[in-house]
Symmetry: C2
Subunit: 441 residues, 2 copies
């Protein structure tokens, strides 16, 4: 405290006088350089294809208002009081009904409510991961989960995906190589449906094989499924948890099927793990927000929430179509992308030699934003890819955004044709800590 933080200096040069006191886990925790860009990208004139914010403008505010008004009038003192660390029992029953839609048979006593499913990833990692432990993740994987694993000093080993999701042989190889290196694998973290950021879905045919590999290798599966009910063309594929109760911890969320502002997600876990999760939750927050939980419970009770999800699916399908049509119409033939069957994201592979992170400032100048692929890898890969989200902007804005992106790409390709690669490979491969944030979740 004898040092004084020089408050008058700009943040880029401000010295951190506490730096010697932080825990080891904190030393690498710095804001990614793309944050500053996203502050610019939030201006209305920029079309953001970067954010993962759901579009909740279609929610019936009158219904929500009435349900919450009744809640305050009839159960206010309970809703505004502390609650159980595990979560509101009635909501946990309703969560079991929601999970039935994906073939899961579960008991409310095995559900722990969390502050969004982000906190569920945090708590599961907290109870399982010592520094140096390995988590196997798809390549690419959710930026917010990679941030958690990093915060607990766990090591991420990536396994490839293809159009049918995680590749079984790639998983086998990742397990074998990790164990050959003498490292301990704690779990497989997977997003089987409408993957963030890759947009692909683990096919029904592959699911038993992935489970069997994990069962044989004796590693847990952390199944993160925020988008499962947002498929455009078919009924949900049964969850991994539907056919394996003891080896799978399943995470769900109301953020995409209702609204994220209440921060209510959950973990369904084998009983012994659930006990630890509740203890961890009590240590982290005492209890998840009682008011949020009872508000969601009232909404589920009083509204045709499945009908609402159907509306969301139609809205997102229209946006997906707008994006895919625009990509087809505007982008150079040397780009590649997938056509997602649900969820929020398209994964776009750029023409060879284009660096997504180096291009981002020029894209923002051209009034379009995206997330560079490197954010979704723990190992510096992904510089030739970007994630595009179609969840939030209108179809017109999506088309305009893709048109602008195509213009930036063409300039970039011309530059490259004239001067060679836009960024030295050594710089392109350097991966900062891309802290998860609501800009890019």
């Amino acid at each position: 405290m004898n040092e004084v933080t020089p408050r008058s200096q700009g943040s880029s040069t401000r010295l951190d006088s506490y730096v010697d006191r932080y825990a080891a886990r904190t030393q690498g925790m710095t804001a990614s350089e793309i944050r500053a860009l996203f502050a610019v990208a939030s201006r209305p004139e920029v079309v953001s294809l970067a954010g993962g914010m759901p579009n909740i403008s279609g929610l019936p505010l009158d219904v929500v208002g009435r349900a919450i008004g009744d809640l305050i009038a009839e159960q206010g003192p309970t809703a505004m009081q502390y609650g159980s660390g595990q979560g509101v029992p009635e909501l946990r029953e309703q969560i079991c009904e929601v999970m039935k839609l994906e073939g899961i048979s579960a008991h409310a006593d095995d559900v722990t409510v969390t502050v969004g499913s982000q906190q569920a990833v945090d708590l599961v990692t907290r109870i399982f991961c010592d520094p140096g432990d390995v988590v196997i993740c798809e390549a690419p994987s959710y930026v917010g989960a990679l941030g958690v694993f990093k915060a607990y000093q766990a090591e991420v080993v990536h396994a490839e995906m293809d159009k049918d999701g995680l590749v079984p042989d790639a998983l086998r190889q990742a397990i074998a190589a990790t164990r050959a290196a003498g490292k301990r694998i704690k779990f497989l973290y997977t997003i089987p449906n409408f993957h963030n950021p890759a947009g692909v879905t683990l096919s029904a045919a592959r699911r038993p094989e992935i489970l069997e590999i994990c069962r044989e290798a004796d590693i847990l599966v952390l199944e993160d499924n925020p988008y499962g009910l947002l498929g455009f063309d078919q009924e949900p594929i049964p969850a991994l948890r539907a056919s394996e109760a003891e080896g799978v911890i399943y995470l769900g969320s109301f953020s995409k099927t209702f609204a994220p502002g209440f921060r209510v997600g959950w973990a369904l876990a084998p009983h012994a793990v659930r006990e630890k999760l509740v203890l961890a939750q009590e240590s982290a927050t005492l209890c998840p927000p009682q008011f949020s939980q009872m508000a969601i419970s009232a909404y589920l009770t009083n509204h045709d929430w499945l009908g609402q999800i159907k509306h969301f699916r139609e809205m997102y399908r229209e946006r997906r179509d707008a994006m895919v049509d625009a990509l087809e119409a505007y982008l150079p033939k040397s780009c590649q992308w997938n056509v997602p069957e649900g969820g929020f994201y398209v994964w776009l592979t750029l023409p060879p030699g284009i660096d997504a992170k180096a291009m981002l400032p020029r894209a923002v100048t051209a009034r379009v934003a995206y997330v560079p692929g490197t954010a979704f890898f723990a190992d510096g890969f992904g510089s030739g890819s970007i994630r595009l989200s179609y969840c939030y902007p209108t179809p017109e804005r999506i088309r305009e955004g893709v048109r602008r992106l195509a213009g930036v790409l063409e300039q970039e390709m011309e530059l490259r044709a004239t001067f060679g690669a836009t960024t030295p490979p050594s710089l392109a491969a350097r991966s900062g800590y891309d802290a998860p944030s609501t800009d890019i979740n």
Copy 2:
């Protein structure tokens, strides 16, 4: 996953097949044995002097309902959306106004909103504490904070209090002894006002000395202040943070001055620390609940919240009086207790030889509950003390509860006179991990 958890067995004999996979921090994380008793203690026929739940029955439900109804109608899509990891800017401005009441001059940019101040303790510990680091705490200290320090494998060193709060010489000795043992101190955790569980307040005269000791020793102060505005007889004493900005991280909460069900607390930290707190918050939850924050902001804007706090103070003073009068009337002369000038708690020292934990089952049978003192020590001390809370029951119930407690104590003293100490000292000193929970927060 080849092991199968034998689900049909009772929880006490259920094997945990995941036990070999947990992180080191999780191994000691077991529910305390007093939990089962608190499940019984929540029955209506039991007078619970155990819980720390605020009594919010006096909140104006019509005002809250109108404020939240307007919020949904006018700003619903924003309130239900993801928000900033740091928290809603308008609420952070209002938090600065609240802190002014305790002499704190702060900028909203240095405030991080958290999921209750419990999460603030968690995040501060996360960024500062490596396993083996030392946190200095008062003796006794808040059970929920001790749980966090344990979860991060930090070691707690206690320093004595007296009627004027933390004793400066005890702090000096704790620092010297810890450093002599070659250990690294990360911060002093202190609850200066209406201490939980001790009921005492750090006198204004001692505050500069405590700050000077920490400044000289170059250790941070984590000032946890949920009860500061709930004094009965005088205006708030200026916070430690009021006279030291760089060496103090200040934690506040709306749980006791408004309502805990929204789970909104905050940390005011030096700028560099605040940056790490926001990154840690984003990793933990993406963002604190936007809806909760905007609901509290609307309440603060539309209601005479200071007048409401005045009502709370009067209500709690009446309950404090009821408890102190009943203790005087019913308890054996060999008991000792303090008369708190605010907050929720009385710390009661039992007659010599009585073990508070051993007595608890008999007290619950006699339909009164309390928290044994051992819950508030990291080192097994406290077996001769109990925490009594007067915040929630009515004055009549408080008197009846104390009367029942006096009966149990008399029986216990008779047993002791006949058979000697009620519990072998070795058992009394054994301290399990008393996980924080809403039963005893």
